[in-house]
Symmetry: C2
Subunit: 71 residues, 2 copies
DNA sequence: AGTAATTTGTTCGTATGTATC
DNA sequence: AGATACATACGAACAAATTAC
């Protein structure tokens, strides 16, 4: 599974409210297990979501859905 | 140097015409050497530029600046 | 109050796979 | 066939934040 596919899936889940604004996403390791891909791939996924302004990552804390989704 | 810093720098160079539309960017290894970062970081940089619709990567060929830059 | 341990994101380095030349 | 190039995987080390003691 490619980083773009996973990014699109996660983006959709965020849009659908499965991960609402302000909530914390599963950790990179957890997401890797969820999607059966490597942590490296999930890192590229997170970079995509970051560029899409959907998440904000914080070292040591976790990755959070932004308060105000674009559009 | 972070992947976002490198991505911002490369984006600016593309915008400035240093890497014009249709041209091929240096290879991942070359870029890694240019910015004194690892190839892994450059890969995340490329994902950012891909999300910004500035480049198109082609396996086995290289990474090219898109013909029509956004905006 | 303070420090050690844990968690989590970030970067690094290497190896393997796939595609192109 | 061989070399080059991007894509994914894996493991390790690092840095920042939190938790446990």
């Amino acid at each position: 599974m490619s980083s773009r596919q996973v990014a699109d899936d996660l983006s959709a889940r965020i849009r659908d409210g499965e991960y609402p604004p302000g909530s914390r996403l599963p950790s990179l390791r957890e997401l890797a297990a969820l999607y059966s891909v490597s942590v490296s791939t999930i890192q590229r996924v997170m970079v995509r979501l970051d560029e899409r302004r959907l998440i904000v990552a914080s070292q040591g804390r976790g990755t959070y859905v932004v308060d105000d989704l674009p559009q």
